[in-house]
Amino acid sequence: MLPERLNKVIHLLARLPGVGEKTAQRFALFLATEAGDVANHLGAELTTLLDHIRPCDRCGNLADYDGTAAICDVCRDTRRDSNLLCIVARVQDLLAVERSGAMRGRYFVLGKLLSPLDGIGPEELPLERMINRIREDKVTEVIVATPPSVDGEATALLVARELEPTGIAISRIASGVPHGGDLEFADQITLGRAIDGRKAIDG
């Protein structure tokens, strides 16, 4: 029904996360019929995207690549506390923590979570790079901000174990009741987890 070239575009668009066959078709038809300049601009940007954007050499966040090195904005920012390091699973998680404004240190992106069932063992994780980074920057405190899933918890435990010999302070982000929420509206499971992960009151 549609030209082969357009079908190919639909097929490629449908591989994007969150985009199904129908949305892909809508995008493709929009690009082909109503937005010639968007299609051209998008095409030009995409052709060179991977030549200019790479994971940061130091932390794994996305960065501009100048032909020799890729260092991201967070790692360049000299006002940040280089002794404090937050370990996250994905770039999306880094952005989420960054939005909170509560993190004044730097990050390390693991890229994936430990998951033997999906074929991801400890050797698939960049643990050696992480330890080198910690040594080089003389990091004194690590916050592990992996998600509260089984794989996220296992990864946090593995990271903590790997870092144990260094003697630096390691903490795990808390999970539980959202800020401003009344306890009576929290579901039992979330509240149960918050109680399991309770902490002492510093007075």
């Binding site: 033997p116 069932l117 400890p122 089984v150 174990r161 579901d187 039992q188 499971i189 149960g192």
Partner: protein
Amino acid sequence: MTASIRFERVNIRGFRNIQSLDFEPAPRLNVISGDNGHGKTSVLEAIYAVSTSRSFRAERLAEAIQTGAEAAVVRVQVRDGDLGREQRIALEPSRRSVTMDGKRPAKLAIYATRTPVVVFHPGDLVLVSGPASDRRTLLDRLALFLDPTSGDHRLRYTRATRERQRALLERGTNASDLPAFETLMVQHGTRLQQARRESAEALGAELEPAFRKMAPSTLEFTTSFVPGGSESPEEFARELASRRGQDARRKTASFGPQRDELELLIDGRSARRHASQGQQRLLTLAMKAAELACVRAARRAHPVLLLDDFSSELDPTRTGAVYDFLEGSESQIFVTTTRSDLFPTPAVHSADRVDWTVCDGRLERG
């Protein structure tokens, strides 16, 4: 105060052989009759699905979508004490969604305990005669009412156990990620172990008197819960660490609540192996009565009782016991049978009983 739970209106569309069905059940007893294959069990299954988001049949719930229909939808008006609410489940080929008063629940495990139902169907005989896994499933279902976090611990424990087994198989007993997964197994396994013991105790306390009411007094019936793991974190961790080699060789985790057993003993001997067919039937019924009593106590409400295919195995002892049990119950009851005249309930006031006939997926009064 024990509240009563009542379905006031049931609407089923595209569910198995039911194209469209809308009825207002009687507050006490609903006897649904009809020939086999006309949709009696589907009515009960639909009520169970909208209450728990699951099926009591072995098949996957997605298979309940009627051929040619886009989705199966069950909608019910529930009266829970003084409060009314609407619950709805929609099944599509690749997903199911539930809502309560139009809102999606935060957690499925919590949704599943809001409108308590207890089902009794012919396949339940495996509770007595079948493998330990069926009895663990019963304990887990009860545990959700006693401790809503237990289902979450069970899912996490199971996942961590599978991850550890895979790590063991692929990287051996010194794999550097084993301690991480074993730590999680201990964390969630001890909690699951505790939840299972507590539901076994609650069930056991109701089971023995329930059985005594139904069976000849000469038989002595006891239950014994045999944990497969430990509630002590230290012991759990020690056992896991020391069993790595064995677990890798046998390709299965040899310590933990996945090996829990609820033993049923008649005169001190395993009911599974030594009880007669008749005794096993009575025991199954006693287990259901005990489940009902436990849910009632935990939820402070009379659960709705779904009794499937009553006529299939008529034997006089069991039938008498069922009548006593049903007529004494304050629950709303749905029962399916091939012939409603085989189901006399003289103690139930005639205004409290409605007989329904299912034919080709349609339901008619009388």
